[in-house]
């Protein structure tokens, strides 16, 4: 499902990713760990075309990303199959919770209104927020907002979900309510790549752990082998 070959990315002349190759994340949960500035978030953002890279290729959910950027149409196609959850949630503040989740199915996938609403209500139920469909994002706690963001990404039924430090902005209680949702997804067989500092989570969920340092992969292996 995900294959990365000799990925190189520079920022202001300095390599941020330096010949990263990754294989074996066929299905299940790949966790990227490493210190701040090791390049793990950048690697994740390269996977759905939010960052342009200078060398190497990425193949993800059947889409191939080449160095130097993609055509707009190719990126739009890719992003239908690859969902993303951000550290800062990035919910659309002018829309209700329900409309946040319904927007992409309506606009991108042209799903009829009623079907999109059913799908959104189901997803919000799945993340435990069916009582908040009409609320504005700003009235929700951080943990609730992040669960809405997960439901919003799932609404496009992506083949791969990318999580960029999904709990870094949350306190421990809210963290666990978000992690529970992600673990449920993993159990249901959702392929995902998660950037995290949380080793406990990595242990419980990861099928494959990749450690980066200074833009290179220094170790990778099963959760048991990597985290003990």
């Amino acid at each position: 499902m995900i294959e990365i070959d000799s990925l190189t990315k520079r920022r202001a002349g300095k390599p941020v990713l330096d010949g990263v190759s990754l294989r074996g994340a066929e299905a299940g949960v790949t966790v990227l760990v490493g210190a701040s500035g090791s390049g793990k978030s950048t690697l994740l953002r390269c996977m759905n075309g939010l960052e342009i890279f200078e060398g190497g290729t990425i193949t993800i959910a059947g889409h191939r990303l080449a160095a130097g950027g993609q055509s707009i149409a190719a990126l739009d196609d890719l992003r239908r199959d690859v969902g993303m959850v951000f550290q800062q949630f990035n919910l659309f503040p002018h829309l209700s919770v329900l409309d946040n989740v319904m927007l992409a199915p309506r606009v991108v996938a042209k799903v009829p209104v009623e079907e999109a609403r059913c799908r959104a209500v189901d997803l919000l139920d799945r993340v435990g927020l069916s009582a908040f469909v009409a609320a504005r994002p700003a009235t929700l706690s951080g943990g609730q907002q992040q669960r809405v963001a997960i439901a919003r990404a799932l609404a496009m039924r992506p083949r791969v979900m990318l999580f960029d430090e999904p709990t870094s902005a949350l306190d421990p209680t809210m963290t666990s309510e978000v992690l529970d949702v992600i673990l449920d997804l993993a159990k249901a067989g959702q392929t995902m790549v998660v950037v995290t500092h949380d080793h406990g989570f990595a242990k419980r969920a990861a099928t494959w752990v990749v450690e980066l340092a200074a833009g290179r992969i220094v170790r990778q292996g099963t959760a048991a082998a990597m985290l003990g």
């Binding site: 759905n48 939010l50 707009i72 990126l75 739009d76 992003r79 239908r80 690859v82 969902g83 993303m84 951000f86 800062q88 949630f89 990035n90 919910l91 659309f92 503040p93 002018h94 927007l103 992409a104 606009v107 991108v108 996938a109 504005r136 994002p137 700003a138 951080g142 907002q145 963001a149 919003r152 990404a153 496009m156 902005a169």
Partner: protein
């Protein structure tokens, strides 16, 4: 009590200084100063007062020479003071001692100002295009080939009053359109926007060569007399001016002056000799004034509302499109849009309106004044709105754009559904404030014959002489319109519950 007296003394001094400084001077003061300040509008053109074509720094015209003769009779020099024609009498409360600029002697003026004995007689002359109707004045009684005849006049002139009166009495099927510049109406006849123009005959004769495509329609009609206007506060000056005009007529100097300007001196002298006494109009009570002017002011307020409500949505739509184009459009488009904004922001609205209304007909695109005004206001304000929207779009956090893209939205879908709706909320306060500004800027449209509230006020204030009372009524009308707007927009803002930032 201490400190009170000095305060009063200071106030009194200030008042005295203000009075001596700001108000038309009485005869002895003029003579000790050695200068008679006379006001006129050189834009009004020939043969009255206009810049010498061979040396534009110098003013010439029969009224320039008349003012010099008059000042000479008072034993002083003449000094010219520029003013806008329809507001010249207001200068009598400022720096001018008298107004000499084709001011017609009317009963209302005799009531409100000091009016000298007449120094010139004129008649009205209609002009049209060669070989185009109307052929005679009487033709105006029936509608023209394209409905009511479109007839241009100088705003506030005797021609305007005469033509509007004929239209009101049903004697002429005309739409009377008022212009700020004397020659504007003749230009518009020549370019085909108007069917005819009505002006003082001496002006038509003077400019006959320049407007070779025009011809006089029928004989001059509905004449009148020019007077020197002074303030009621300077009766000695008024009497001195009357005496001076009498001497200029008696010793033949005025006749010579008119002959030099090809203004039929002998005929003028007979007209001045035989002119009937003009009565003084009765004063009006405040109630009568309001009753008589309010309907006119209200209908002009309607024009103000129409102009703003039609122009602003266009300005907002165009401004948003320009902002999006500058931030997200193709590379070749961005400098063009930047140029659009800078040109429209960097040139006066008045000039843009002139260009649309007076220049476009020269390339065959004649727009009705109202349409030209709406387009001009919309274009001008679109430049300002686009800058506001550009700032608004930039204020939406980048994460919003990334989140939209990561969901598979295209750039344009992200703009349409995520960025623009948030930007619109962010810029609500400055946009509302611009709406109120546009609302007041509509007054510039009077330059292209659209009469809105400010213009109507100035015309009425002039014809009634009740400047202060009508200013209060007009200001109240403006507030009645802009206040609800402000309340409405605050309600709208609170309803939109503007986001604090990136959706946290």
């Amino acid at each position: 009590m201490i400190g009170f007296r000095p305060a009063i003394a200071t106030l009194a001094c200030l008042a005295a200084v203000a009075a001596s400084w700001a108000i038309a001077a009485e005869l002895d003061e003029i003579q000790s100063r050695g200068e008679l300040v006379w006001a006129a509008d050189q834009e009004g053109g020939g043969p009255h007062v206009f810049p010498d074509p061979s040396d534009p720094r110098r003013l010439v015209g029969f009224e320039v020479e008349f003012a010099e003769l008059l000042a000479g009779e008072l034993g002083v020099k003449a000094r010219f003071q520029q003013g806008q024609w329809d507001r010249l009498p207001l200068l009598l409360d400022q720096t001018a001692d008298c107004v000499i600029n084709g001011i017609e002697l009317t009963p209302e003026r005799r009531r409100d100002y000091g009016c000298s004995r007449p120094y010139f007689g004129y008649a009205l002359q209609m002009v049209g295009r060669r070989a185009a109707p109307p052929a005679m004045l009487a033709d105006l009684a029936e509608a023209g080939p394209a409905g009511a005849w479109r007839v241009g006049v100088l705003t506030g002139s005797a021609a305007e009053i005469e033509m509007r009166a004929r239209a009101a009495r049903g004697e002429a099927q005309v739409e009377v359109i008022g212009y700020d510049g004397t020659l504007d109406s003749m230009e518009q006849v020549q370019s085909g926007v108007l069917d005819a123009a009505v002006l003082d005959d001496c002006i038509v004769t003077f400019y006959a060569d320049r407007f070779a495509a025009l011809r006089n329609v029928d004989r001059p009609f509905a004449g009148g007399l020019y007077t020197v206007l002074t303030s009621h506060r300077t009766p000695k000056l008024a009497a001195a001016i009357d005496g001076a005009i009498g001497r200029l007529i008696a010793d033949g100097r005025l006749k010579k002056l008119y002959d030099r300007w090809d203004l039929a001196g002998r005929q003028q002298m007979l007209m001045l000799r035989d002119a009937a006494e003009i009565p003084v109009a009765r004063g009006r009570t405040l109630g009568e004034l309001v009753r008589q002017t309010l309907p006119l002011l209200l209908s002009s307020a309607g024009m103000t509302v129409l102009l703003s409500c039609a122009a602003f949505p266009l300005a907002v739509a165009a401004g948003l499109a320009v902002a999006v184009g500058r931030l997200h459009g193709p590379a070749w488009l961005r400098p063009l849009l930047t140029g659009y904004v800078e040109v429209l922001r960097g040139t006066p609205l008045m000039l843009q309106l002139y260009a649309i209304f007076f220049l476009l007909p020269k390339i065959g695109l004649a727009l009705p004044a109202l349409v030209a005004a709406i387009i001009g206001l919309a274009l001008n304000y679109s430049a300002y709105e686009s800058e506001i929207y550009r700032a608004g779009l930039k204020a939406v956090p980048l994460g919003q754009f990334e989140a939209a893209l990561s969901l598979g939205l295209t750039k344009w879908q992200a703009l349409r559904h995520v960025l623009v709706p948030q930007a619109v909320r962010i810029v609500m306060p400055p946009v509302t404030s611009d709406f109120i500004a546009l609302f007041k800027d509509t007054s510039v449209c009077s330059a292209i014959t659209v009469i809105e509230l400010t213009k109507r006020y100035s015309v009425l204030a002039l014809s009634t002489g009740r400047i202060v009372e009508l200013a209060v009524v007009t200001a109240v009308l403006y507030l009645c319109m802009s206040w609800p707007l402000a309340v409405l927009s605050r309600w709208f803002e609170s309803r939109l519950d503007r986001p604090a930032g990136g959706g946290q």
